[in-house]
């Protein structure tokens, strides 16, 4: 039998019992919809975080104390005091790290900022002047602090737009004094709003000279991070090696001893993100796939019923010359047409739902959540649902093909 006619016969078989067919494919529809949703949301989340990482700049290298966390519970080493003032000076030396254009020390932590009777908790970044350039923030009013402020341990602060709004409302902030940890800091600048374009929310932060932050706020003599900016993206790998050599020497780490610091570049982060989102998508995807299997069993069930009901049709077809293979293909195609239809509806439904979700999410988290139609998920959905039809249609189709033609002749 020609494929065209086989398909026509299969579709006819489905049309005969439309409402049963639509109930039957519901499981497949739900399964494929779920896969589409999971993959679309996974991709959206991936893009969102990717955008934030890229917002950090491709030339930037983050140095943190301790060992690279290997799992989510591995926080023990994070707050060690390995990064010292001495290291900062060594990294800034051109002979040690020739490709470094900027070296930033960073101390940070959440603190409450007071202005009059207003209070607001924000992230305090203690750093040096170039942080503004590295993270691409600039004051909308006033100025950023300078190297002199850093050297002089000046109690000055540049506040994010959200901090300003929370503490000052619409009135002027520049020139006013705010209290952090009981010390008065003079507001010298207010940053223009940035939106959460990177991993940090700079709108809800205050920047102060690191010297003042170490002394008056955190009471420490070490740093939480160094950020090194290389002169080009290509120089990043070499710079990483230079930093490692410099810090190992400074920390007296030799031979096979492990580093007491670790570095992360944008590439590392993107790689790590890829692993995380892939694992997550795969996991959620397989949960969705289970519903496809359930749907497949439904298909098998209904196909078995259909084979029994159509015993006479099968016998007749055999009497007029259908081979076992013809009958097998007819019912297999019918099962696959059912699941493929379910798959197609699932893809459409999944696309619509993930589009709506993208809009809702964008509004709820006030971030730009991009809707991307997951073509790979669509193809996967079609492929998997056809495969489900093949696998779960095979048994009923075999039953059909093995029926004896004389059953059609027996009159009930």
């Amino acid at each position: 039998m020609t494929l065209k006619y086989s398909l026509k016969t299969a579709l006819k078989g489905i049309q005969v019992n439309k409402s049963r067919a639509s109930l039957t494919i519901l499981g497949i529809v739900i399964g494929v919809t779920a896969i589409m949703l999971v993959m679309a949301l996974g991709e959206g989340a991936h893009q969102l975080i990717l955008g934030q990482i890229q917002g950090l700049g491709s030339k930037t290298i983050f140095i943190a104390p301790g060992r690279q966390p290997t799992g989510p519970s591995d926080f023990a080493q994070v707050f060690s005091d390995a990064l010292k003032e001495r290291d900062l000076a060594l990294l800034e030396r051109k002979t040690n790290v020739p490709n470094a254009t900027r070296v930033l020390p960073i101390v940070f932590g959440g603190e409450t900022i007071l202005y009059g009777s207003e209070t607001h908790r924000a992230t305090i970044f203690g750093s040096s002047e170039p942080i503004a350039a590295v993270f691409d923030v600039s004051p909308a009013e006033g100025v950023f602090f300078t190297d002199d402020d850093v050297r002089g341990r000046a109690e000055v602060a540049v506040i994010g737009s959200k901090v300003k709004k929370e503490l000052f409302g619409d009135s002027d902030a520049v020139g006013e004094k705010v209290k952090i940890k009981g010390r008065n800091f003079k507001v010298i600048g207010v940053l223009s709003p940035k939106g959460q374009a990177s991993l940090f929310d700079f709108d809800d932060a205050a920047f102060i000279p690191y010297t003042a932050a170490q002394q008056y706020i955190f009471g420490i003599k070490y740093f939480h991070r160094f950020v090194v900016e290389a002169d080009s993206e290509d120089a990043v790998p070499q710079t990483v090696l230079d930093i490692e050599a410099t810090l190992r020497e400074s920390h007296n780490i030799t031979g096979t001893q492990k580093n007491d610091f670790f570095m992360e570049t944008q590439t590392d982060m993107i790689e790590r993100l890829g692993v995380v989102t892939n694992v997550l998508t795969l996991f959620l995807g397989s949960v969705a796939a289970i519903s496809l299997i359930v749907g497949g069993i439904g298909i098998m069930n209904i196909m078995l019923v259909s084979v029994t009901e159509r015993t006479r049709e099968i016998g007749l077809r055999k009497a007029v010359g259908a081979t076992n293979k013809d009958i097998l293909y007819q019912f297999l195609l019918e099962a696959m047409a059912l699941t493929a239809t379910g798959g197609a509806i699932g893809i459409a439904l999944g696309a619509v739902l993930s589009f709506i979700t993208a809009i809702v999410l964008s509004n709820v988290i006030a971030m730009e959540w991009k809707f991307t139609f997951p073509i790979s998920a669509a193809l996967l959905g079609v492929g998997v649902s056809a495969a489900v039809g093949l696998v779960f249609g095979l048994y009923p189709a075999r039953q059909a093909s093995r029926k004896s033609p004389i059953e059609a002749l027996r009159y009930e």
Partner: protein, 256 residues
């Protein structure tokens, strides 16, 4: 109408002349269901030459359908010998048997067995689907077969919209569409009133006149006498096998 214009001699060229078209020797069929043996056909022997019109008669349960299933290679015999066109069922693979049924045999059943929610045309086309005939020829062949049973005016009707007699004529057109050597009809008039039954028999008679071999099961003597020969069965055995002395002509309702 290719089917009507064919002459007897043309069929004889196609077939193995060393054997009769149907050769049955000591044929026995015993059904076995859950250790219960039902002997349905016992030691039957006869032959049917190409171009014959044989009627098989006998009370219900005497083994007529069983015999017809064996003749149509729809079932396998228990012992004895059956040759169709010189060959036994074991000379063929299952696919070759399907092809044989498709090309050389036509079946008409008591229950019509038309596909529901399907037009007359599509029903008649069904054997063509499995025939390897080029698709562009299907329509012409099916229409010719439908015309030969006088149903051209019903061609686009669904099978459920037809009367019993019309349904059986569609079934005959379906049996004819691949231009078979032989038509097996198992009580084709069993569900019909006398008038439509006669119309069906008349078509069979006319097909026989055109040179086609017919094996007809019926238990109405009047209809059986339209054949050239009557085989009477009882309890799975052939009781008698004799030519029809005074052959009836089916009433002239049908031919114009």
């Amino acid at each position: 109408m290719p089917t009507t214009e064919r002459k007897k001699e043309m069929y004889n060229e196609n077939i193995n002349t060393a054997y009769p078209l149907i050769l049955v020797r000591g044929l026995t069929k015993t059904y076995v269901n859950e250790d219960i043996e039902t002997p349905a056909l016992r030691d039957a022997s006869f032959s049917v030459e190409a171009g014959e019109f044989a009627a098989i008669m006998g009370p219900s349960g005497s083994g007529k359908s069983t015999l017809l299933h064996l003749l149509g290679f729809l079932d396998r015999h228990t012992s004895g010998e059956y040759r169709f066109d010189g060959k036994t069922i074991d000379d063929y693979s299952p696919d070759e048997i399907a092809r044989l049924r498709n090309k050389k045999m036509g079946f008409v059943f008591q229950a019509f067995n038309l596909l529901p929610r399907t037009t007359v045309l599509e029903n008649v086309k069904l054997p063509l689907l499995y025939s390897g005939t080029k698709e562009k020829e299907w329509d012409g062949l099916a229409r010719a077969a439908i015309e030969s049973v006088g149903l051209s005016h019903r061609i686009m009707h669904e099978s459920s919209q037809l009367s019993g007699g019309e349904k059986q004529r569609v079934a005959i057109a379906r049996a004819l569409v691949n231009d078979p050597l032989i038509i097996f009809a198992d009580e084709p008039t069993g569900n019909l009133d006398t008038r439509s039954g006669m119309a069906v028999i008349e078509i069979l008679q006319w097909l026989n006149n055109e040179g086609r071999t017919i094996v007809l099961i019926t238990h109405e003597t009047e209809l059986a006498e339209c054949a050239k020969r009557i085989i009477i069965m009882r309890d799975g055995k052939i009781e008698s096998d004799s030519p029809v002395g005074n052959r009836r002509k089916a009433a002239d309702h049908f031919s114009k």
